[in-house]
Symmetry: C2
Subunit: 292 residues, 2 copies
Amino acid sequence: MILIDGAGLAEDILQEIRQEVDLMVSNGKKRPHLAAVLIGDNPASLSYVTNKVKSCETAGFKSTLIKRDGNFSENELAQLIEELNNDSEIDGYIVQLPLPRHIDADKILLLIDPKKDVDGFHPLNFGRMAQGLPAFLPATPSGILQMLERYKIETDGKHCVVIGRSNIVGNPMSILMARKGYPGNCTVTIVHSRTHNIDEIVRQADIVIAAIGIPKFVTSEMVKDGAVVIDVGINRIADTSTKSGFRLVGDVDFENVAPKCSFITPVPKGVGPMTVCALMINTLKASKSEIY
Amino acid sequence: MILIDGAGLAEDILQEIRQEVDLMVSNGKKRPHLAAVLIGDNPASLSYVTNKVKSCETAGFKSTLIKRDGNFSENELAQLIEELNNDSEIDGYIVQLPLPRHIDADKILLLIDPKKDVDGFHPLNFGRMAQGLPAFLPATPSGILQMLERYKIETDGKHCVVIGRSNIVGNPMSILMARKGYPGNCTVTIVHSRTHNIDEIVRQADIVIAAIGIPKFVTSEMVKDGAVVIDVGINRIADTSTKSGFRLVGDVDFENVAPKCSFITPVPKGVGPMTVCALMINTLKASKSEIY
């Protein structure tokens, strides 16, 4: 069993990006610049955004954190987005989700200029991705592709089962794993809350990608010997033995599943850091006008 | 076994549209107007476009066929598309595929105003469709959804296997069958040329959608008793007994598969007419500004 070191791999990639950025800057080019918009004070969101800002530093990017309180209105946010779209200093930006309930996230995401949409959430990027055209790939699926590639995991003709159908992970992941090329060319099954026989289907998988948001959902009985297991879940469960009173577990029962796997990602330090890393890759591409 | 009468159903829907259009016109509204661009003289393309024009008549739409010879350049086509985008008389238009080799179809399709993209091929429509936002759905998958709905075929929790991963059928079909809602909520597997064990996977399917472009690819051994089989294939095979010297067969070995099915579509007169019908539905939506 090989434990996929997402944190270490992300660090390596950030260093590679930093070298490229240093070279760009020494050649007189502008330093890539990512902005992040955070509305309200959800502690998980704050921690995600802080991570992203830290990764910008590691990658040699300029970053701007735009924090507004939870009462910031939809109109004000729309105006802020227009400013970011028109700010030639900023190569790409993200609006950290979830947004407060009084803001319609779908509506807001449509306002982001696809050229600066480094989260890959705008439907134009989503459609281009799905049609195999150059696009900003959604960060989590893109990070997983990087991981498969760097660990030279075979995907051609393999059966990949994606658990969960969110627009952020499961849905785009299933599209990317079925596309022509590497990583890809998989037979892909997407299962979700309406699937009757999840266990039976997951047992057929050469590659399992779990993104259903249920702690330890994937048990050892569900996994074939030698499978590759990618765990996207980040679930907080109560744990009185920790200072914070909780700990993070994935969607996979890691302890019991790991011994059966050829490759598996841990939680934390698996997919999470790769997601941030994919965001940095998109930002670099935006600054080099590689997609549009 | 119930034979799905695509031709009859399409006719019914066109009549429903006609009634709505007659009412719109008698209320002083503009008659929906579809334009079709045909480059070159591919006989199959000409026959498809002629069919679409005929369906416009049935639906009470105005139609304009714009025919250019095979030497029409990419630049000229780009200019024509700009004119169509700006022509407020035209609600929607299609550019009949395939285009001659000297024209980059991907590039051309990106020029179509998504608001008039009634084929649903533009990545913005594709992405909106994939994210569950209002969109012009690609015509063939949309026609198949109509068929499932009108025949009240259960899809919730069913295992749908889509054979083929084209951007026009297999890929969007797999996305739509997995989406929340009806028809949808399926467990979906997409198989294709790189899949090792297609037979074994198709045998698990409650619903088979064959769009691989290989005559009689789906045999009776591959189909579970009671399955729903939707045949998207339109393959010309030589047949000396016909006047034209060929006949049309689907991707399904109809004769041997049909007895095992709960529902099956014939070829011709199955999916084909429903595709044209879906195009009319999109054009009506465009004229009513229902999507954008």
